[in-house]
Symmetry: C2
Subunit: 208 residues, 2 copies
DNA sequence: CTCCTGATGTCAGAACGTGACATGACGTGC
DNA sequence: GCACGTCATGTCACGTTCTGACATCAGGAG
């Protein structure tokens, strides 16, 4: 018999999910989570750098999935399509978890701290995309833009997926988003510089 | 004579900037900042909800600028151009502050907490863009995508602006980014579905 | 059998953030 | 010109998050 129950990490995640549903995110303490997992607060922080982090363990796996999908894309495919296809490749992994994803997303939407964390995970994935693209020979500046555009498309598709009454899969929504982007960029290009000097309004010298 | 020195808020911001440069972000305490501003820690938290927030006061002003720029865009302009033009309209406000912006950006880049906050500010601006577009009659889904694409372009342009040795303005980089996006989306559209089934690799059922 | 390793616990403490209440200059109305 | 309310600030007390240092102790290696 092992000295400790196995799967401490998973136990903590499960406990956290339960408690967040029962008492809300703010209403539950790291100590509470640890206790329900049969562990100590200190131990929680050895597994997760953060109270928030306990909700975001999946993003590494998503990343791996994306990397391998990019690797298997044909050399000749246009880079934006590579990005879209790679992100769409995670689709099957999500299908099984629509219900969980919904709850989790509701939690995140309700807490600014959690939204912040989610955004930085997206950024991390964008950075990974950029690295992969660079290795395929895409120039830096282009790769950066592609990474950002790709995650924008993904987030957009994810939102639509999660509330899609027809339950079409994530890949479907990715391709729909791409099609729309294509439409938007196609109709542009003529009057691009129209408003350029419209710094009319109030607000002198914002700090930003 | 007033009972208290005026401009408490500005004093706190200035103190924070100084101290962050002197001792780094982690090395300075909210108490330190307040003390240098001649105030109390408690008072700091009345002006800023957060230690981080003291670095991000400019984003509201940026937002106002953008809103008024959108308002003055011609009705007939394609929506993506409206977005780009609106974001580019903040350009003059930034020109005066390239040096400060650099320092600030270095600080943010070095601290995940700060990057998180920056990202959520960008999201806020994206949401504002969406609202403005909706008021112009752009359908919801399209507006969402435009907001995301727009902020992606902005962030991209901002990065390039801040390190541009030729010191071209932010508007220039915005338009360059748009041009590149247009190029990327133009060359797409043929082999879009190539990788779609490439969920080959490892990693079964990521949580995310 | 002994020693080492690694997961966990215990303890103390700093920093963040908040609620409740106190203070006291200033302006307003009477 | 006096009483009163307001508002920015201070004071205090407290809960939570997160960290460093050190203790414990089962099980495996030698």
């Amino acid at each position: 018999m092992a000295r400790w129950e196995p799967n401490a990490r998973e136990r903590l995640q499960a406990a956290a999910f339960e408690l967040f549903e029962e008492r809300g995110y703010d209403g539950t303490t790291v100590g509470d989570i640890a206790a329900r997992g049969g562990l100590t607060e200190r131990t929680f922080f050895r597994y997760f750098t953060d109270k928030r982090e306990v909700l975001f363990s999946g993003s590494e796996e998503l990343e791996k999935l994306i990397v391998s999908a990019i690797a298997s894309a044909p050399e000749t495919m246009p880079p934006l399509d590579v990005v879209v296809a790679a992100l769409a490749a995670s689709s099957p992994a999500f299908e099984a978890r629509r219900a969980i994803a919904r709850k989790r997303q509701a939690l995140i939407a309700a807490h600014a701290e959690l939204r912040e964390r989610e955004l930085i995970k997206a950024l991390k994935i964008a950075a990974t995309l950029v690295t992969c693209l660079r290795e395929r020979g895409v120039p830096q500046a282009t790769a950066t833009l592609l990474g950002q555009t790709g995650t924008a498309l993904f987030q957009n598709a994810f939102e639509r997926w999660i509330e899609d009454p027809k339950k079409r899969d994530l890949a479907h929504h990715m391709h729909a988003a791409l099609a729309e982007l294509r439409r938007l960029t196609a109709e542009t290009g003529k009057a691009t510089r129209g408003v350029k000097d419209a710094r009319s309004g109030a607000a002198k010298s914002p700090r930003r």
